[in-house]
Structure formats: structure tokens, C-alpha cells
């Protein structure tokens, strides 16, 4: 049985990654799971300088999901390179660094700083709904996405994954723009912008007023978008959005994702990543699948 997948020339032992922002840089969940068993660890977003993030409360539970407005708190690229990269290097897994910024220069500074680091790929977060509402328009504008992708590709030494927001009218338009800019892969979806009101207190449930909704409740939206994007671009797609079980992950793979990421599920099941990886192997045995890649996108041919 062969669970390996390749994204932009980087071979992952299996298609299971962590979703950025839900797994830190692996230290905390390393107490629950063997990081060597993961296809890749995608780190929490890191910026050129430390970010303090948003005021609390930063999260709220929603039906079958949650809403967060952490605001990309991160220690900055220097501490990250000194502490988190060496930590992850101890494990036999791929390292994908999620990069965030307020403006193109900030992204580029981080991307350049990463060029000499022993990391495997970077994922560019142009889709966080919780940072500077004016800037959000960036990841929602095809022209900007293409331009930023091209700028990043010019300085990046590692393959570049662009992470897309679902908060757009037509996600395939943004996906095509990222591809045209030279993206090596696309990951989707980031969280859906939402709002929750605390009716007893008659106030917003999170201090930021709006937050990003994630978890099982949003999975059908994510599967639909992964399907659309996988059929609109040639680069590999990494699917995420409410994956908690192998069956969830397989929905994305069958819809066209080459790899998948487990996010919010880590919060209610710290072993979710491993269980998804093991469950995919079980599925392959049951369905007599030799190579995992045979499953990628096959619902399209099957139709009903």
C-alpha cells in the first residue's frame, strides 16, 4: 500500500497535514501524537515581527463548530527560526511554514528570511478574516492575488502554497489567479467569516466582533470549493475544512485534493491527525486501493 503523495516535488509519506493555527509548531500536540506519523506539519502563521493578536475573548463555540479571532498572534520570524524550525527538524515529517503579513513587503521579508531555513514548503496566508478588515480584500481580489504570488515566487527558494479564503463569490477565479502568479499548490479553505451574538449579554461573542468559523459544520462548503478549484487549476490542491475523521478526509481526496489538513478537530481530539492517517490506510485496504493517488478526484468520472 502506497500512501505517498507529491506536492510541488515534495514527497509526503501520507496526505495528512495539520491546518495552520490549530497545531502551533507541533510542540504541544507532540505530547499526544507521534509527529513522525504525519505527512507534514503546517505551522501557525508567522510574520516578520511579533504580533500580539486580538483582545479576548478570542473564540466562541458554534453549532458543530467554532469561531475564532485570534488575530495571528505569533512570535515573529526570528524566534520562529531559532526555536520552532529546529524543534520540527527532529522529526521525519515535512515542514510547511505558514506566512502572514499586513502588506506585500512583510510577506516578502518572511519569505526571504525562510530561504536559508531547512523547511520544505511555505503556505502564504492571504485569507485570514481576523486581521485588518481593509486588508482582507487582498485575498479576495484576483489581481492582487496574482501579483503577490508572483512577487513571492520571485524570492522564494521553497515551493509556495497559496491559502485561499472561501469568503468570495467565485473561488475558482482567485485560484486561477494564484496559479497564473506561479503558485506551486493551493490550500483551501480558510475559515468562513461569521458573527455570533451573546444574547444574554447583548454583545458580540468574540471581542473582534467577527471571527472565522471552522469545524464539521462548514465541511460541505469546503468540499464543494475544493471540488470546484481542483477542476479549475492544474496545480495540486490541499483540502481542509472540518476534517475530523478519515471519511471526512476522503471526501476531500475524492473531490480532488492531493492532500488534506486536520484543524479544529485537534481541539476536541488531540489524536485526530493520526486517526485520520490510520483510517485512510484502513479504507485503502477495504477498497483494495494500491496507491492513494488513484483516489484523487475520482468522483468526477464516477458522477453519481
Amino acid at each position: 500500500m502506497d500512501t505517498r503523495v507529491t506536492i510541488a516535488g515534495v514527497e509526503l509519506k501520507n496526505p495528512v497535514m495539520t491546518a495552520s493555527g490549530t497545531f502551533g509548531s507541533g510542540q504541544e500536540y507532540g505530547e499526544f501524537v507521534d509527529l513522525n506519523r504525519l505527512g507534514a506539519v503546517v505551522t501557525k502563521g508567522v510574520a516578520n515581527v511579533p504580533w500580539a493578536g486580538n483582545p479576548t475573548p478570542r473564540i466562541a463555540e458554534t453549532y458543530g463548530g467554532m469561531m475564532n479571532a485570534i488575530g495571528l498572534q505569533n512570535p515573529g520570524i526570528d524566534v520562529f527560526c531559532k526555536r520552532d524550525v529546529p524543534y520540527l527538524k527532529q522529526f521525519d515529517t515535512k515542514i510547511i511554514v505558514n506566512v502572514c503579513g499586513h502588506a506585500p513587503e512583510e510577506y516578502l521579508e518572511v519569505v526571504e528570511r525562510l530561504s536559508d531555513e531547512p523547511i520544505d514548503m511555505m503556505e502564504i496566508n492571504i485569507s485570514c478574516p481576523n486581521v485588518n478588515a481593509g486588508f482582507l480584500a487582498f485575498g479576495q481580489d484576483a489581481g492582487n492575488v496574482e501579483k503577490l504570488t508572483a512577487q513571492i515566487k520571485k524570492v522564494a527558494r521553497q515551493p509556495v502554497i497559496m491559502k485561499l479564503t472561501p469568503n468570495v463569490t467565485d473561488i475558482t477565479e482567485i485560484a486561477k489567479a494564484a496559479e497564473a502568479g506561479g503558485a506551486d499548490a493551493l490550500s483551501l479553505i480558510n475559515t468562513l467569516t461569521g458573527m455570533k451574538i451573546d444574547v444574554e449579554r447583548q454583545s458580540f461573542a468574540v471581542a473582534n466582533k467577527t471571527g472565522g468559523v471552522s469545524g464539521p459544520a462548514i465541511r460541505p462548503v469546503a468540499v464543494r470549493m475544493v471540488y470546484q478549484v481542483a477542476n479549475a487549476v492544474k496545480v495540486p490542491v490541499i483540502g481542509m475544512g472540518g476534517i475530523g475523521t478519515a471519511a471526512d478526509a476522503l471526501e476531500f481526496i475524492l473531490a480532488g485534493a492531493t492532500a488534506v489538513a486536520v484543524g479544529t478537530a485537534n481541539f476536541y481530539n488531540p489524536r485526530a491527525t493520526i486517526e485520520v492517517a490510520e483510517g485512510i490506510e484502513d479504507y485503502m485496504r477495504r477498497h483494495k486501493v494500491e496507491k492513494l493517488t488513484e483516489l484523487v478526484g475520482i468522483v468526477k468520472e464516477r458522477g453519481q
Partner: protein
């Protein structure tokens, strides 16, 4: 140091202490073995529409039996805590723990210690009162009706404060401290933010070493998601900003290192 784990606990008993306040003993041998006063557990609802664990402080730890006691408030209709309050002896519940750092017992050893609890911050002070080897004065504050007072009375000199004046000093815990002229070398406190803020100020004025147990809405409970941060006086070594993680770096902090 890594000893936290996810475990299926079995409910040994459940009791309603007051309207909306419930006590539950859980059989959770592995977690109980490692737990110390001031730590908490993540309790998971069985209903998957409620994804996130509820962080609940440990009220008592019985290592011999492998039991944990939690005392919690039901936060509303249809909530996870309401679901817990309806569970019966023999029911299973997923928990994760022990989480957080706990109260430093050494800091109070052999000294005069003031243990202050307010509202639903009262429960964790009980196991601390049981384990702390010190000259203990316990000050517990309630809105009106009181709970756990019998257990506290068995573990130190107990002073009560109630907002409605139904027991002890009318007012808050600091009113009780002033009325009885209580002094101490070290303070341990858990309760709502306004109470902790006042105690922080009081202890700093009186130059008393003070540990506060903080509360914040949590998601992961293990320090990964950065939901439950509190402000820190200095740049924190882990976050590299003025933030500490309540679930992992706390919930117990030296009052001088956090902003409340």
C-alpha cells in the same frame, strides 16, 4: 514534563450543591495520579454539536481511589455544563488532563497563607487547602448561598463574605480580610477578574507574594491555539509578546507577572 492524557472517565457520583452548582466525582485513575491542586481538566460533551472541551478546575483529588472531584456552574440552557449536570453515576465522559501548572505549594510551606476564592472560583481552593502545609486562613466569597463551606471548615480557619450579608461579612472577600484584620505571607486566589484585580492591587500594596488563578475562554486547552491568553507584564518567553497562555503557562500566575 508530559503527563497529560485523554481518558474516558466514569462518573462515580453527582450531586446538586445549589441551584445551578453541581459536584461530580469522576473515576479517572491516570489523570488523578498526576494531578496537583490548581490544575484543571477538559471535559467533553457527548454531543458532537458541542465540539470544544469545557475547562473545569479540580476541586479534590483522591489519588488512592483514582478519583477527581469537579464542582461547576451550569452556564445556561442547552449548554455543555447543563449536559454534564444531567449525567448519572456510571456514565462515561471523555476528559483530558491534568492541564495547566497548578498552585506552587512550596511558596507557602510553613508560612501564613491566605487562600481566597470567589464564586465559581471557590472549588480549586479546596484541594489546595487540603494539600498546602501552612498556617491557613481561608476566605471564601459568595453572592448569596454558599457551597463547600463544611469541607473548607475542616481545612483551616474559614471566613466568609456574601454580597447579601446572609453569612459572614457583607461584601466581598477583601471586606472580610479587612474586617478580621487577616494578614499573610502569601496569597493564593481564584475567582472572577474584578476580584483578582482587587487582590492583585491589595497584595502589591501590602507587599504580599500573591498567586492568582486566571480564567479565559479556551479551545485546545494545551497551549497550541492561543485563544486563552492574558496580558503579561514583560514580554513572555514563549509568545515573544505581552501575552501568556492561561491553559499552558497558567492558569496560576504570580500576580505581578500578569495584567488583570
Amino acid at each position: 514534563m508530559s503527563c497529560k492524557r485523554k481518558e474516558t472517565a466514569v462518573i462515580v457520583s453527582r450531586e446538586c450543591l445549589l441551584p445551578g452548582i453541581f459536584s461530580m466525582w469522576l473515576e479517572a485513575g491516570e489523570v488523578a495520579k498526576e494531578a496537583v491542586p490548581g490544575q484543571f481538566i477538559s471535559m467533553y460533551a457527548n454531543d458532537r454539536s458541542k465540539l470544544l472541551p469545557r475547562p473545569i478546575s479540580l476541586c479534590e483529588i483522591d489519588k488512592e481511589k483514582g478519583f477527581l472531584r469537579v464542582v461547576y456552574r451550569v452556564t445556561g440552557k442547552g449548554t455543555g455544563t447543563e449536559q454534564f449536570s444531567k449525567m448519572k453515576a456510571g456514565d462515561a465522559m471523555e476528559i483530558m488532563g491534568p492541564l495547566g501548572n497548578g498552585f506552587p505549594l512550596e511558596a507557602g510551606k510553613g508560612k501564613r497563607a491566605l487562600l481566597i476564592g470567589g464564586g465559581i472560583g471557590v472549588p480549586p481552593m479546596l484541594e489546595l487547602a487540603k494539600q498546602l502545609d501552612a498556617d491557613k486562613l481561608l476566605v471564601m466569597g459568595y453572592r448569596d448561598e454558599q457551597f463547600l463551606t463544611k469541607e473548607f471548615g475542616q481545612n483551616g480557619g474559614l471566613y466568609l463574605a456574601t454580597e447579601d450579608g446572609s453569612a459572614g461579612t457583607r461584601g466581598n472577600v477583601l471586606d472580610a480580610i479587612r474586617e478580621h484584620k487577616l494578614t499573610a505571607d502569601v496569597i493564593y486566589a481564584c475567582g472572577p477578574s474584578p476580584m483578582l484585580r482587587a487582590i492583585k492591587q491589595y497584595s502589591e500594596e501590602k507587599h504580599i507574594v500573591c498567586y492568582v488563578s486566571m480564567e479565559e475562554r479556551m479551545a485546545c486547552g494545551v497551549g497550541a491555539c492561543l485563544a486563552c491568553v492574558c496580558g503579561s507584564k514583560e514580554i513572555d518567553g514563549h509568545s515573544n509578546v505581552h501575552n501568556k497562555r492561561v491553559c499552558k503557562d497558567g492558569p496560576v500566575f504570580l500576580s505581578t507577572e500578569v495584567e488583570i
